[in-house]
Amino acid sequence: MSASERTVATEGTTAAPATSHTITLTINGAKKQVEVAPWTTLLDLLRESLHLTGAKKGCDHGQCGACTVLVDGKRVNSCLTLAIVKDGAEVTTIEGLSAGDALHPLQQAFIDHDAFQCGYCTPGQICSAEGLIREKRAKTADDVRELMSGNLCRCGAYSNIVAAIEEVMGACTRERDGRGNGQGRHAVGGGRGEER
């Protein structure tokens, strides 16, 4: 059921504050009905109400990616997502990536490549990397860098993060044709060295 069918009447102009709405989310495979206020972000719902504290609040402004989770298979910044807008969606958090005690290949690769120091950014990095692999767009290390640029790491583990992702990506396709978009931001088109 969509939010529109359920949200409280707002006809007339001074509708009483409807502080809570029931929405249904499938979280890490389990269907859940939850009460949310219109202003509850998906991140706060996950962390404060559902106690899934894997997704981290870094900036709360869409800048760091620490809160990245998968919504219907796509990576989103959960801090900038109102939960109510995602009524009916499937949400996967870092807690849902592993199968019991068996680590997800990305989790193992992050350990093998020493792809973190403090680990605060790591759940977001791994969820984002999972989204990137599902998108099947990245072919080169440069593509990985661009498509992971929404996930910051204050500890600066970037090169190992890229290596870990490349390893898991490479399990599907190890294609390194050297093409990339690392040539700087000056792009001129129309027959001249167009950057694609």
Partner: protein, 298 residues
């Protein structure tokens, strides 16, 4: 304070465009705060600095327009490209018509924030927030795009040149919904430029950005569209540069003339992101670089 402490508001997903227009008209006439939420990448972040809703008479109403069919979709009809106001930057980056006919838009989209922001942010939101640093608006300025807006009074078209009036002010009325932007495209393969100067490649706001599209016939430019971000209270259209560069053969353009036109067209300031002098310097060099690529001996 954080976004988790967002002030009270009510939320609704309207059925269709007439529904949005009707609700908006009624509420605007009563000065009741109403927000159209597309990607939320500007609005949610802004909530921290906005005056408290509590002092306002009525509970603000947020209308989720992100999935309204009338605002989505990208279509090419002959040489006219229409991009729904709620289409995302990622939609644009992946659209075959954009890739083939408006590659500058794809290139600009790549420089918006990072992938998570591109998957949510829209041109409608970029236009409505109306920051002079807005990259999408800058690209639309270069294409001399037309805004298609709807209200209870019907449809209206706003040419880009008559859109922006002052810092974050425009000729769009408070009850007008941005439905789409339309671009009369230059021929396929026409030259273009997108150059964003920021502190880093991702997640940075432009210190200066130049968008340009041109049509060249022999040694002359028959069309030159330019937009520049972060050098004036509104997106700069660089009208003196446009006039100069289309008024004579490219070989007769001089660096001094171009620089003078740029200087007259921009009025940069010192702020947290850059200085007036550095911005003026960047403005001159990126314009010269584009005209040089087009064949001017500068």
């Amino acid at each position: 304070m954080s976004v988790s402490d967002l002030r009270l508001f009510e939320m609704r997903r309207p059925a269709d465009l007439p529904d949005v227009c009707a609700v908006l008209a009624e509420r605007v006439s009563r000065s009741e705060p109403t927000v159209l939420l597309a990607g939320g990448t500007d609005w949610l972040v802004e909530q921290e600095t906005r005056p408290a809703f509590a002092k306002e008479a009525a509970l603000p109403l947020v209308l989720d327009v992100s999935r309204l069919p009338a605002l989505r979709g990208i279509t090419l009809d002959g040489d006219r490209l229409r991009i729904g106001a709620a289409a995302t930057y990622l939609d644009m980056r992946r659209d075959p018509a954009v890739l083939a006919r408006a590659p500058m838009l794809e290139r600009m989209g790549r420089d918006i924030g990072a992938i998570q922001i591109q998957a949510r942010g829209t041109l409608g939101g970029n236009l409505a927030t109306a920051s002079p640093a807005a990259d999408g608006v800058t690209a639309l300025a270069a294409y001399d795009a037309t805004l298609v807006v709807h209200s209870v009074r019907g449809e209206r078209r706003i040419p880009f040149a008559s859109l922006q009036t002052a810092y974050k002010r425009s000729t769009r009325a408070a009850d007008e919904v941005i439905v789409a932007v339309e671009i009369d495209l230059p021929p396929a393969g026409s030259p273009w430029i997108w150059r964003k100067v920021g502190t880093r490649r991702a997640q940075s706001i432009s210190k200066v950005a130049l968008a340009g599209v041109a049509v060249r016939e022999g040694d002359r430019l028959t069309r030159l569209g330019l937009g520049m971000a972060s050098v004036a209270p509104v997106t700069a259209l660089l009208s003196r540069v446009r006039t100069l560069a289309t008024s004579r053969p490219l070989r007769d353009l001089t660096a001094a003339d171009i620089d003078a036109a740029v200087d007259a067209d921009v009025s940069p300031i010192d702020d947290i992101r850059s200085t007036r002098d550095y911005r003026a310097h960047c403005a001159r060099s990126v314009v010269r670089a584009f005209l040089r690529d087009l064949g001017a001996p500068v």
